[in-house]
């Protein structure tokens, strides 16, 4: 039976959908704008909550799971997200993101960030071209060197590509707190736009040298593993949020952990990954509302350490 919708209601619905897509704060149930941070090298503003794809978007060609991930991605954009981060290391994640971005027609809203992941330092351009084809983008907003693998050769080529307008921003990544000394040397010497490193309320080693250095050198910072690979949720278990969570702008544990990360003055963006629509909703809640100040951040640390 054909579905009968009055023309007027259909047009109102269509308009609302379009508005929700373009002005997410109006449909976020709040009247404030998304929290953004500027990329130091250009001043371009980015929403502080992005989306990672490690493990979560490697779904192969499974049509059922691709449909479900499309829901997650659509909600991410509706709530004002822009930065999507992937890597060739993540199996079919780049392919899935490319297919879904096209399906959702969200190319204009996307800040596309991926990585070069090959030991062969002469293969940078081919690696970038492969990722461009998978994502279906003409050029990446951000190209990073995955876990510093072959970074010297890759970085030289990425700098050339950026100078030629083939890339907008370049950076390097680490995870799990590995190779921080080497990362520090690279940050000191090289003209990077971004670094990506592990930072969360339980893993705060980056606060000692890397985050101050990023501020000093004008380098944007992306935080990976914001929930410590899910361990932070295991740690809090079924315990309720502290009564004062509203004072730091947190409505869920996900929001609590993310607000802690993005309230660090050196931080540009955190990239939580999820396979659940409900979790994406919680993550994107951290894009709005107040941020904790320094005293409140210490209170948050003390609370989590006491659990």
């Amino acid at each position: 039976m054909p579905l009968s919708i009055p023309r007027r209601r259909f047009l109102i619905g269509l308009t609302a959908t379009g508005l929700a897509a373009r002005w997410p704060q109006a449909f976020a149930g709040r009247d404030e704008a998304p929290i953004t941070r500027s990329i130091p090298s250009t001043g371009e503003a980015l929403p502080v909550i992005g989306m990672g794809t490690w493990r979560t978007f490697n779904v192969g060609t499974d049509p059922e799971l691709l449909d479900q991930r499309a829901e997650i991605l659509e909600l991410f954009f509706q709530r004002g997200g822009r930065v999507v981060d992937a890597s060739p290391m993540y199996g079919s994640a780049e392919e899935a993101v490319g297919e879904l971005i096209e399906r959702l027609d969200r190319r204009d809203d996307l800040f596309a960030a991926t990585k070069v992941w090959t030991r062969d330092e002469t293969e940078t351009r081919e690696a970038v071209a492969r990722s461009e084809a998978l994502w279906g983008v003409a050029r990446f907003d951000l190209m990073q060197i995955h876990n510093l693998l072959g970074w010297e050769g890759h970085l030289a080529t990425l700098k050339e590509m950026k100078a030629a307008g083939r890339l907008r921003y370049i950076g390097v990544t680490t995870s799990h707190g590995r190779r921080h000394d080497e990362l520090e040397r690279i940050m000191t010497r090289e003209p990077l736009d971004f670094v990506q490193l592990t930072y969360n309320i339980a893993d705060r080693e980056a606060e000692e040298r890397l985050l101050p250095l990023a501020r000093e050198r004008g380098i944007a910072v992306i935080a990976n593993r914001p929930f410590q690979g899910g361990q932070l949720f295991d740690r809090v278990g079924s315990q309720p949020l502290p009564a004062w969570a509203g004072e730091v702008g947190a409505e869920s544990w996900a929001g609590f952990f993310l607000k802690f990360i993005v309230s660090h003055p050196a931080m540009t963006c955190a990239i939580p990954a999820t396979t659940q629509v409900a979790h994406m909703r919680e993550n994107m809640g951290a894009l709005y509302g107040r941020l904790p100040d320094e005293t409140q951040r210490q209170r948050m640390i003390d609370h989590v350490q006491g659990l």
């Binding site: 490690w54 493990r55 979560t56 490697n58 779904v59 192969g60 060609t61 499974d62 059922e64 799971l65 290391m89 993540y90 199996g91 079919s92 994640a93 799990h176 707190g177 590995r178 592990t198 893993d203 080693e205 690979g229 396979t275």
Partner: protein, 212 residues
């Protein structure tokens, strides 16, 4: 901060468990043909005619080939890159079984081996069903890799010991790899399948030759 085994896996348990359902869906009604062939294997092994028993390694080779092409290469390799090379190794095992089919039929087997076959088929096949809650994810030998390796270990006992080493190196390697994957994914029930496969391989390697 340090790496855990799970950090080296790029997919979630949800995606992995879907592989079983998707493989069975891709086979469609051919799945019933697989079931019929599996039921025929113990009958072939029990009957006294050598030509009938010679069909068994041919059936096993077809199972390794089907597992390589469908489960491994088409569905699993895109989410877990080491599985791509393993797919070719599975094809190699199929070739090895065809060679054995030409050289020597398996011995006629007794009730112990048939009971082993029954355990493989009836118990281990349903572990994925227990994990997912749907019978559509049933894991059959000749279709899914752990079950194919475990079933091969049981059937290998029908050959002399000197042949078994050649037959069981690949199942041994696969079961070890698969056990690590299940461990890293935290799929504790499903971990029983490759662990059972490893036990069956080791038992088959130690099992004495039958008196012909």
């Amino acid at each position: 901060m340090d790496y855990a085994l799970g950090d080296f896996l790029m997919f979630t348990p949800e995606v992995y468990l879907r592989l079983f359902e998707r493989t069975n869906d891709a086979l469609g009604s051919w799945l019933w043909a697989v079931v019929a062939v599996l039921l025929a294997v113990p009958v072939l092994l029990y009957q006294p005619l050598s030509w009938g028993r010679r069909l068994v390694p041919v059936v096993m080779a077809a199972g390794w080939g089907l597992t390589a092409a469908l489960f491994m290469m088409r569905f699993y390799a895109p989410i877990n890159w080491p599985v791509g090379p393993f797919g070719w190794v599975f094809a190699l095992q199929a070739g090895l079984l065809m060679l054995i089919a030409l050289r020597a039929p398996p011995a006629r087997v007794g009730l112990i081996a048939l009971a082993g076959w029954g355990v493989v088929l009836l118990v281990l096949s349903w572990v994925t069903v227990h994990e997912t809650g749907t019978w559509r994810s049933v894991a059959l030998p000749g279709v899914t890799p752990d079950m194919t390796a475990a079933a091969t270990a049981v059937l290998a006992m029908a050959w002399p010991r000197r042949w078994r080493w050649g037959l069981l190196v690949i199942p041994l390697l696969w079961c070890a790899f698969s056990a690590l994957v299940h461990w890293a994914l935290g799929l504790w029930w499903l971990l029983a399948v490759p662990v059972a496969g490893l036990c069956m391989v080791l038992t088959a390697l130690a099992w004495p030759d039958r008196q012909r």
